[in-house]
């Protein structure tokens, strides 16, 4: 075997041509990377912005009004949600406060960081960060930025119904999450 270095071929050693071919190759690789970058970003973030998630029914029946005990009682609501490919059921707790003729329903999700609010003596307390509210939902003490989140309710065919909603935590305003 004999190897002679290719010195006659000007093209090969011309620096301009060398860098031209290199840059052109780099452009091809760059185009693929850019295309896959855009496509995969859309693919990954899709569920975050998809509005195809099926909305649950608005009003959830609790029970006949006359069966609601006076004072504070706990009730569990079952939500049906479609997330991605799955339809699943989750439970959420609400606090019902009935006094004389008035009824208030509060979400048990703490407006501070989203822990579950419990009843302690005459007050509502969140044991995560010791926020405290009165029975009417107004803030007493602790890091919570606002009162307990009151939920809309109505009486339909003598049944107490609640419009269950989740709200943004950590804000002094009550902002519904869609």
């Amino acid at each position: 075997m004999s190897i002679t270095n290719n010195t006659n071929n000007n093209n090969n050693n011309d620096p301009a041509r060398r860098s031209f071919l290199g840059v052109l190759g780099g452009i091809f690789l760059g185009l693929i990377t850019a295309a896959m970058g855009v496509i995969s970003s859309v693919y990954v973030s899709f569920p975050a912005f998809s509005n195809k998630t099926k909305k649950d029914k608005l009003w959830h029946t609790i029970k006949p009004v006359d069966q609601i005990p006076t004072g504070t009682s706990k009730h569990t609501i079952t939500l049906t949600k479609q997330t991605g490919w799955a339809v699943s059921e989750t439970e959420q707790i609400v606090w019902i406060v009935k006094q004389d003729q008035s009824v208030n329903i509060f979400s048990a999700i703490c407006p501070h960081e989203g822990c579950i609010v419990n009843k302690q003596a005459n007050d509502f307390v969140c044991l995560c960060h010791m926020s405290q509210w009165k029975e009417d939902g107004t803030k007493v003490s602790g890091p919570t930025p606002r009162d307990l989140d009151k939920l809309d309710h109505r009486v339909n065919n003598n049944n107490l119904e609640v419009n269950y909603q989740a709200f943004k935590t950590g804000t002094s305003q009550k902002i519904p999450l869609s």
Partner: protein
């Protein structure tokens, strides 16, 4: 302005180089010479590297939504395909990518063989290459099951049953592969783990070794005896490799866009009519199986592939002559050519025989059509039950056993009559509707094959309606 910019760039490059030796790494990557110079025929290896990288990337993206369970695998793939933006594109690239990899691997293999590029201290690089070929077939086999559609289920069933042909240990190995006696959710988990962890890690290590060994031995280059040119990899071969890579990407993108990756309805083990056919690259093996009967299935399933693999593995030790020119190695070249043409003929025969048998042809066409129809139907999410504990399914009422079970099956799963699950989700099938329907089915638009049950008591009809509306899946 441009001058300042390029000065800035070179300053950044300098800064990086002092700390991370980027120039030395770049030199190491592209500074090696190719005897005979750059050629289009050498792009296959780089093409494989790119397509494999693309499979890793799209595979990771698919994992974002895929669920490896017999209950949810199919619905999650269907979700990727029908709902997720660019989901059909990503899955398409992964699907067609597997075929492109098999084609490139075979071409790369043939190129290396005919160029005699396994000779002259390249035995280990060759062996690493053969291991990579087997790994790629392993990827193809395990990935085929994951969508859990009809062809995945039935195709893999045939594949695994071949393992049973291994003497003495066959039965045990096949049971370990399946995780039991039949294809189940455990089988899916096993194939999934092999496909996404065991094989990728092994492939990474062996690919690295393969490239390292080739760089150590230096590229073989041309098989001509007098080499007049010796060119560096960069820029000519680099450009050719990048161009080919770009071509492969366009090919895969176009295929995924124009013909979406197939997805048939979810696996139904009770479908007696389904005829499984392997992917095109396993058709030759499928055809070979037809020529052997009974226990002699051992020959095409185990002995022939085993012998051929062994010969290919040991090729550099069998053929030790220095001659690389394929025209001066007529015996080796002819054997390889006959072997390759044999594989193509077997695969073609498999297709031709399917087409000439009217029954099989019709069924295969029906299956393809069902798959196309399935892709066209809108996505339907699956009820997972979720966090809430469901009450146990109520026991079957006696009146159902007496009056309904003979047509609708003893668990309402459907037999002669339709199955009765999820009825309450349909229109005009509430509890009250069902009570009335039993009295006069035809007023609800049912065919006369559904008899009237007006003779049942009101209580019996209420019990039936209660039970039927509780049936959900």
């Amino acid at each position: 302005m441009a001058l300042i910019q390029s000065e800035k760039l070179s300053q950044i490059a300098e800064w990086l180089d002092e700390r991370a030796a980027i120039k030395a790494i770049w030199q190491l990557l592209v500074k090696f010479s190719i005897p005979g110079g750059a050629r289009w025929v050498y792009v296959l290896g780089s093409g494989l590297l790119f397509t494999l990288a693309l499979q890793f990337f799209t595979g990771i993206l698919l994992l974002l939504y895929y669920v490896p369970s017999a209950d949810y695998a199919h619905v999650s793939v269907s979700y990727i395909q029908k709902e997720v933006l660019f989901g059909n594109f990503i899955r398409g690239i992964h699907h067609y990518g597997s075929s492109v990899i098999v084609v490139l691997t075979v071409l790369h293999f043939l190129r290396t063989f005919f160029w005699g590029a396994y000779k002259n201290k390249r035995e280990l690089a060759w062996i690493a290459g053969v291991i990579l070929l087997l790994l790629i077939l392993g990827f193809a086999f395990t990935g085929y099951l994951l969508p859990w559609d009809q062809k995945a289920y039935f195709g893999t069933g045939v594949g695994v049953s071949l393992i049973g042909a291994i003497p003495v240990l066959g039965e045990t190995i096949s049971q370990i592969t399946l995780g039991g006696n039949e294809l189940s959710t455990l089988t899916l988990s096993r194939f999934f783990v092999i496909h996404v962890t065991v094989l990728p890690v092994t492939l990474l290590i062996i690919s690295f070794l393969h490239i390292l060994l080739i760089r150590k031995a230096k590229p073989a280059g041309t098989f001509k005896e007098t080499i007049t040119v010796e060119e560096d990899y960069y820029p000519k071969q680099f450009f050719k490799d990048c161009f080919f890579t770009f071509f492969l990407f366009l090919l895969l993108a176009t295929l995924s866009y124009v013909i979406p990756a197939p997805l048939e309805p979810q696996a139904n083990p009770a479908d007696a009519n389904y005829i499984p056919r392997p992917e095109w690259y396993f058709l030759f093996l499928f055809q070979l199986l037809k020529y052997f009967q009974g226990t002699s299935v051992l020959i095409p399933a185990i002995i022939i592939p085993g012998l051929v693999s062994t010969v290919i593995f040991l090729l550099p030790f069998i053929d030790k002559k220095a001659e690389r020119n394929p025209f001066k190695r007529p015996i080796a070249s002819s054997i390889a050519l006959v072997f390759f043409l044999g594989i193509i003929s077997l695969a073609s025969l498999a297709v031709l025989e399917d087409r000439s048998n009217p029954v099989i042809k019709a069924q295969l066409e029906r299956q393809t059509e069902e798959g196309k129809q399935y892709l066209k139907t809108p996505f339907k999410p699956k009820n997972t039950g979720g966090a809430v504990a469901k009450p146990e399914v109520a026991p079957v009422p006696a009146v159902y056993q007496a009056k309904c079970a003979s047509c609708h099956g003893d668990k309402a799963q459907g037999q002669f009559g339709p199955k009765l699950y999820n009825l309450s989700q349909k229109e005009k099938r509430s509890r009250e509707d069902i009570i009335k329907l039993l009295e006069n089915p035809q007023s609800y638009g049912l065919k006369p094959t559904m008899p009237t049950f007006a003779d049942l008591s009101e209580k019996e009809r209420q019990d039936l309606a209660d039970w039927i509306t509780s049936l959900k899946e």
